[in-house]
Symmetry: C2
Subunit: 305 residues, 2 copies
């Protein structure tokens, strides 16, 4: 008799995680390979990356009954359908489910329980699931439309603070010296030039965010203000979710991403949640499991559904 197995995939922008497991969750193999960004890379590259991961993990494709994959770039309907189609072709005998990357991350973060996940890395997004299983996300609109409170946004506000000071109407800030050093120039015109010439302005700006934390710790008022605003925006995402989800009073708020390394952001975020969510008695804490483990939890539920 051929045994049944499960596949869980976290197809991220920079790396892809794959778990091959038994229906009870026992892991047969956990491998990691290059990113499958369904938004930007061609489908041929997705297939190559998956074939490599299947080989590396020694996946016996005939045994796979369920695949659950989370994909970055999920908001693009065409791309999402192509990715699902590709997985189905590679695993003809399996039930295939493709979800957004944040959906599997949420599942892992709360271990499948009701709760909220706030991701603040280069971008920002929050999602939550309530007791009825209703899933909702807010934010995650990308750097052209906001991504308030993200690393990109913090870096952008840092440059804006320096430009305001340069134009003579903003407060003086030590961010000017810090950013000059990082960007290799003391000329703001050259900063703009570098920013508008780079392929990934959001990454360039996100790299500046740690300097804002540093400046804030040194007592720089504009830097402190930026971090408080970032935390307020992130707390705002949670507030919006709670207005539309039926969450228990002690629901966890899980945090993921580099922005949370700032104690100032974390402190203000906590304080803001306390003020905005009247009866909330939960905790702010790190995720329980990883996103790919979240995908595995979902695959397990599909197995028995």
């Amino acid at each position: 008799m051929i045994p049944s197995t499960l596949l869980a995939i976290d197809a991220g922008g920079t790396k892809t995680d794959l778990l091959w497991a038994q229906p009870d969750g026992r892991v047969l193999a956990h491998v990691q390979g290059q990113g499958i960004n369904i938004a930007s890379k061609p489908p041929g590259a997705w297939q190559e990356a998956l074939e490599a991961l299947f080989r590396q993990a020694g996946v016996d494709r005939e045994t796979v009954h369920v695949v659950c994959a989370g994909a970055a770039g999920y908001t693009l309907p065409d791309r999402r359908a192509l990715f699902e189609h590709l997985l189905q072709q590679m695993l003809p005998g399996a039930r295939v489910l493709v979800l957004a990357d944040y959906a599997i991350a949420l599942e892992g973060a709360t271990g499948g329980n009701p709760g909220v996940l706030v991701i603040a890395g280069t971008g920002s997004i929050a999602c939550g699931r309530d007791r009825e299983g209703k899933l909702m996300r807010v934010g995650g609109w990308g750097y052209l439309l906001g991504d308030e409170g993200s690393g990109f946004w913090i870096g952008r506000e840092a440059i804006r603070a320096v430009l305001a000071a340069t134009e003579g109407w903003g407060e003086q800030t030590r961010l000017y010296e810090m950013l000059s050093e990082t960007l290799g120039s003391a000329d703001c015109g050259e900063w703009l030039s570098a920013l508008y010439r780079t392929q990934n302005p959001q990454s360039l700006l996100a790299q500046l965010a740690p300097h804002v934390t540093e400046a804030a710790e040194q007592g720089d008022t504009p830097a402190q203000r930026i971090l408080l605003h970032a935390a307020d925006h992130l707390a705002g995402l949670v507030t919006r979710l709670t207005q539309h989800l039926h969450l228990p009073e002690d629901f966890p708020v899980c945090t993921v991403g580099g922005v949370w390394q700032s104690q100032a952001v974390l402190r203000r975020f906590h304080q803001q949640l306390g003020e905005r969510l009247l009866h909330w008695q939960g905790e702010v804490k790190p995720p329980m499991y990883s996103p790919v483990e979240g995908a595995l939890l979902i695959a397990q539920r599909m197995m028995w559904a």
Copy 2:
């Protein structure tokens, strides 16, 4: 005796204007050619474009004593120096001055008098010159850093308003239907996809701005709010300038760019200026002369200086 002549150049992003004139301002030729974007095009292309304009205007290079050029992309110091060097090589006997595009636009707008120019097209910027000849600019940081109140910004806020409604926490808005029609899809995920794939997201977003005006005129509250905020941002640029320039009480505020076609923006802008500038008795009005004519005014002053 070889007569003296002047050259005035407005090297814009999409077109270049050239005026060849006598020292008294009498125009010998006015020609227009392709854009010389010193920020993005290679110097070889600048030279070709200039040679073509010189030929078209029949410029006798030996007679040119003064050249004044305004250049888009002026904030890039390397590029600016290259452009000045190229002009000097092409006209070895002339005094060459390269200024920012907004500087010649301001000169033309006010006819060289003290005053303020507020440009709100795809981007937004304001500049002013006071009685002592002090020049100042605020804004113009580009779409990655703000450009509040610009066409890009209005279009971006329109998409944000629709996304907020879609996520269930923003007010319903007829912008959804309007943008669906323009963007050829009713799926917001596809809007984001198109936006993040295009080469010029700022142009794509600026194209949406007229729909905001239309929706506002039809009574749509979110659209009206966006236009009021845009006007407030633009009035804020003027306020900042007045804090640092010594302007007469009746200084003119000249407006240029597509955003001003919205009566709602213009009305609110006017009202805001009245509230914020206590003793101001000036007018909001269109420019007196074009940017290339502004460059000619400067060239004339250089001739006699």
